[in-house]
Symmetry: none
Subunit: 251 residues, 2 copies
DNA sequence: TCTTCAGTGAGTTCTAGAACAGTGTGACAC
DNA sequence: GTGTCACACTGTTCTAGAACTCACTGAAGA
């Protein structure tokens, strides 16, 4: 059958449904899902089909299966594919996660020295400062301050950044992003970011500093992100065929 | 079923056999494997079981499946391109830095539960525990505990690990490393590692957990490294062409 | 000559069970 | 009390098919 809604496989539909229930909190992190036989009965499919759905969720690290014990909901899962040039929020949404962005500040002002250096500005030049907080699973997870070089900034300063990613706005303004350079360091939560992230000072965090370049090598965006260690981790898969790097769940 | 060598799953045995045939050149890169129905018949298993074996190989990126066309052996030769599988120390040495290794412990003992899970050992199985401290620029920077699966461990336990990297020792012992999976989290320095690293407890660190696999998908090494944040950072370069990831000294 | 369309063979999804392997519990014997 | 064992419950592996989609090919029709 599979004749109903388009041509999506049954197990994919089940996986999507379970994923939605996990993300909505219907199945809370740490709790056990119903037994596989029970789930397969309630979805009206075979154990094998249900297990294929669970495998999808397991690949996405949404669940953890333990022989003899049960299937448990993993801690909140963030997956940010860094091997593309997509923005963080775009990537998360592509995976179906609900990520909310709130704008804590937006203003054109003089860039501080270290930003001016990253964007190769003259001292005293102004740029667009965009301060955002990313919420995942109802909890603030990332505090991000982005500086955008002018005149690019003037074309995007009035966009609604709660609904549109910075990368999308840049693309709409005709700016093509070619490459990005990022440095990630461990750190502890400082007072300024702690206010936005509602986590005690001194908590382990990842501090990401990223500069994004256009095709002609001009730096257009300088990013400084504080990422809660309790919410995110970095995963790499290295093989002879290549390398992939992912932000993922803190487990 | 599974009556012969222990209780290895049938599909794993088939995956290992196919992987060996691919490695030996019996199935050359770029060529098509026999159809699934033919393979399932020749192995005397169901299509579902054979497909589970193929899924393993697909996860290892040894094969590429194309609906309507066939199953093809992935192009690259996997034995020699270990550049992307360099160890952390090798990575730094290639950048011209002087890295010293001291061995703080070496013993065969029962693997703790989380290690046994990562290496797919039976509870109670023993493995080689190798504890090393990496010094960089004259200061201890990384505390690393590696567990090596037996019988591989028996072939390398007497090597001088202050002079030879674990990966090199594995290669000398005839163990070909195919891929590695690594997770990096931010953390704060715990008392045990603080003793080796001469840094105050609570300092920001990166905690790396890595599992390294052979060609047939067997996990051989489970690594747990504590990396001082004041000494090390992660750098990524992203472009349309690909991704590179390097460890580097904090600047 | 060009288009269409049925046939063939490939991978993919699914059914309806059965048996196996860890994990925990509770009854029973000591 | 304490140890042991049977049993129930969990995830895991496997069988023997059947029907599906996708890619290609070649013959029939326009």
């Amino acid at each position: 059958m599979t004749s109903d809604a388009g041509h999506e496989a049954r197990y994919r539909a089940i996986a999507a449904d379970l994923a939605a229930k996990i993300r909505s909190g219907h199945y809370a992190p740490g709790t056990a899902l119903p037994p596989q036989r029970e789930l397969s009965a309630s979805y009206g499919v075979t154990l094998m089909t249900l297990r294929q759905a669970l495998r999808e969720l397991s690949d996405e690290r949404l669940i953890v299966q333990q022989p003899g014990k049960g299937t448990f909901v993993a801690p909140p899962h963030l997956g940010y594919q860094l091997d593309s040039l997509r923005s963080l929020a775009d990537d998360l949404r592509k995976q179906g996660h609900d990520v909310r962005t709130s704008v804590a500040g937006r203003a054109v002002r003089r860039a501080p020295a270290h930003v001016a250096a990253e964007l190769r500005l003259r001292p005293g030049d102004s740029a667009l400062r965009l301060e955002r907080v990313r919420e995942f699973a109802g909890r603030p997870a990332v505090h991000q301050v982005s500086w955008v070089r002018r005149p690019v900034a003037d074309g995007i300063r009035d966009r609604d950044f709660t609904a549109v990613s910075l990368y999308t706005a840049l693309a709409d303004a005709g700016v093509t992003v070619a490459r990005a350079s990022e440095v990630v360091r461990p750190g502890v939560l400082d007072p300024a970011a702690a206010r936005h992230l509602h986590e005690p000072e001194g908590s382990p965090v990842l501090v990401s500093t990223r500069v994004t370049f256009t095709l002609d090598g001009t730096p257009v965006v300088a990013d400084h992100a504080t990422i809660l260690g309790s919410m995110m981790e970095i995963r790499t898969e290295r093989a002879a065929t290549g390398l992939s790097l992912t932000w993922g769940p803190a487990s």
